[in-house]
């Protein structure tokens, strides 16, 4: 990919071009002590001079160099809530003189340009596309917003303690699914094009020269730095063996700690489970069916035909981990984990998915029981 230098003082221009092209710009900002993706009006709202410290069950922001706005890796959410909405009306019903009248809820879509997505986020996007668009039951709401999406990805220049995208093969470089790609340098950005739409925006920017060898070297070095990660998810082939350890004592060990609060699944960029609820007005004239984010950690999620299929927390944690790491491979051709580490930092009790997977794969269940 050819990259050009894009000076920091022109970054605002990128926002303006996107807005003039009809996009609502969505990107990272600092809110409530975290990097949160929200609608942005100005580049000043980006998290200039902040990076996160993420550990199991812990996340806080700490100052970084003032001239950088992408010196962080992840926040609790990135793209998922913009496509797979936490609360999605599906249909409304109304009592009319002609009888009950049903209407499908329209997809409310605005073109959005999302700034600051990382390799892990894009890998998750690809998986969600597979589930919501390319599966047997395409989701019209997801699909409509997905078609109105412009992506400005960023190569990571560092990794948080919880990152392990190198071991899942999804980062730290963004390699697909973007329209524009940035590397953040001291005095500006290297910018590359990934699509025709990206090219159209690119052409309207005040760009410097094609990136020099030195600049490309720095960008390469940053990626190399980001590749130095502390956690490593076992490879996919090994993860398949997890399904052989259904009675491993570690399931109970983790269940003793697990709150079954569902936070891991709701911050996970690939989890897609939902439930539906109906509401009506008190006069019983109008009703609405809404789809809500759900989690395999919820009791009702495993309630089928009058029976709770996963009555205890150990069954639910096992369901989550096995589905994510092993069964997704059969279902979607790869593990459902993209190495972002969100489930580790946003678990209130700091359960570490990587450590649990490693422990579950260590030795035979029999040996572990006597440790």
């Amino acid at each position: 990919m050819t990259k050009h230098f894009f000076a920091r003082q022109h970054l605002n221009q990128l926002f303006n071009v996107l807005m003039d092209s009809g996009y609502q710009v969505v990107g990272p900002t600092v809110k409530d002590g975290a990097i949160v993706f929200t609608e942005l009006a100005r580049v000043e709202q980006l998290p200039w001079g902040w990076q996160e410290v993420a550990k199991p069950g812990h996340y806080h922001l700490t100052p970084s160099r003032k001239n950088l706005c992408f010196a962080w890796n992840t926040g609790p959410q990135a793209l998922k809530p913009w496509l797979f909405k936490p609360e999605q009306p599906l249909w409304q019903a109304e009592q009319t003189e002609q009888g009950l009248c049903f209407r499908q809820a329209p997809a409310k879509v605005t073109p959005i340009a999302v700034v600051g997505l990382r390799g892990c986020d894009l890998a998750a996007l690809k998986l969600q596309d597979q589930h919501f668009i390319h599966g047997p039951y395409p989701d019209p709401y997801y699909q409509a917003q997905r078609e109105q999406l412009f992506i400005i990805a960023v190569n990571c220049a560092q990794s948080a303690e919880t990152c392990f995208c190198v071991s899942t093969g999804d980062g730290p470089a963004a390699t697909h699914s973007f329209d524009l790609l940035l590397d953040e340098l001291e005095d500006g950005y290297l910018i590359g094009v990934g699509s025709e739409q990206g090219q159209a925006v690119f052409q309207q920017l005040t760009l410097g020269q094609q990136a020099t060898i030195d600049q490309l070297d720095i960008a390469q070095q940053q990626l190399a730095d980001a590749s130095q990660q502390q956690r490593h998810m076992p490879d996919e082939h090994s993860l398949l063996k997890l399904t052989e350890n259904l009675e491993h004592p570690q399931w109970q060990d983790v269940a003793d700690r697990c709150l079954a609060c569902g936070n891991c699944t709701l911050v996970c960029p690939t989890c897609f489970c939902s439930k539906q609820e109906s509401t009506s007005d008190i006069k019983l004239q109008q009703a609405e069916q809404v789809r809500l984010w759900d989690s395999c950690f919820s009791e009702q999620h495993g309630y089928i035909a009058g029976k709770l299929f996963r009555p205890e927390i150990r069954h639910r944690y096992r369901q989550w981990l096995l589905h994510k790491l092993a069964n997704w491979q059969q279902q979607y051709g790869r593990s459902g984990c993209v190495g972002c580490g969100r489930c580790i930092s946003w678990c209130p009790v700091g359960i570490d998915l990587v450590a649990e997977a490693q422990t579950l794969l260590e030795g035979s269940p029999h040996e572990s029981a006597h440790r």
């Binding site: 996340y59 006069k283 919820s298």
Partner: protein, 264 residues
């Protein structure tokens, strides 16, 4: 033929009367509600007919006195369905804090304690009579109450929800206060229903809606200890609005017996 209205009664035992406001506070919605239900007894709204037979009796308040006990038994006899509303009726309420103490507070507080006649314990009504449905909350909300009535009107069996507060909090995309601020948030063990008000304002949940489904209070309390809370602080965290509900009471008892002395 229009369906006949549901006859309802709103009763009060020992409580602050706040949950009854879920009916009165809905403004114009109350007029819509009155098209569906007929209120037979509701002293806070000026309708006093305690002995009326009803389809649904909503009971606010805990059984805290012998009169409460007598009344709740009468209510059961005259009502097809009994629904407890609020923390007091479901788990004894704040006044159930006295259940945790062996000391004679009556002597300490009142000049003439013999004038006070209350039971030793404050309890939820389900400990005394059969309760058909529980609406948890301190206080309950308008939508919670109306949703329950709608389901009955539609002929569907109301489904109890024990979903954890975290689920609602995450759907609203609030940033977790436990993870970012190390705040002792009860969200992971507390039933949703309030709309995650406290985390929305950056505060830790203190459990108005009572224990959720499968609350792993042992683990959460251990986490609080890891965050630096003293054992007594952990005990007090669980002994607030729903101190008499078993999962929270267990934690109170587990932590309040651990004494910490300063190292000299």
């Amino acid at each position: 033929m229009p369906p006949s209205k549901l006859a309802i009664a709103i009763h009060k035992l020992t409580s602050c009367s706040g949950c009854q406001l879920a009916l009165l506070n809905q403004g114009i919605g109350l007029l819509d509600l009155l098209e569906q239900v007929e209120i037979k007894h509701f002293i806070e709204a000026g309708i006093n007919h305690f002995t009326a037979e009803v389809d649904i009796a909503f009971v606010e308040g805990s059984v805290s006195t012998s009169e409460d006990l007598e009344r709740v038994q009468h209510i059961r006899q005259r009502s097809k369905l009994v629904v407890s509303i609020g923390a007091c009726a479901t788990s004894g309420g704040i006044q159930a804090l006295r259940n945790l103490s062996d000391e004679n507070w009556l002597q300490a507080v009142y000049a003439k304690p013999e004038f006070v006649s209350s039971l030793q314990h404050s309890t939820g009504i389900a400990e005394h009579i059969k309760v058909d449905f529980e609406l948890w909350g301190c206080p309950i909300t308008v939508s919670q109450l109306n949703h329950f009535i709608q389901q009955l009107l539609l002929g569907s069996k109301p489904k109890p929800s024990g979903e954890k507060l975290c689920m609602d909090c995450k759907r609203q995309q609030q940033v977790c206060v436990l993870v970012t601020q190390q705040a002792p948030c009860l969200g992971p063990v507390v039933r949703t229903g309030c709309g995650a008000i406290c985390p929305t304002f950056g505060r830790a949940c203190y459990g108005c809606f009572g224990p959720s489904e499968q609350p792993n209070c042992d683990s959460l309390a251990n986490r609080f200890a890891g965050l630096g809370l003293m054992p007594i602080e952990i005990a007090q965290r669980f002994a607030a609005i729903h101190s008499h509900s078993p999962p929270f009471k267990d934690q109170y008892q587990r932590w309040q017996t651990i004494h910490v002395r300063e190292v000299e």
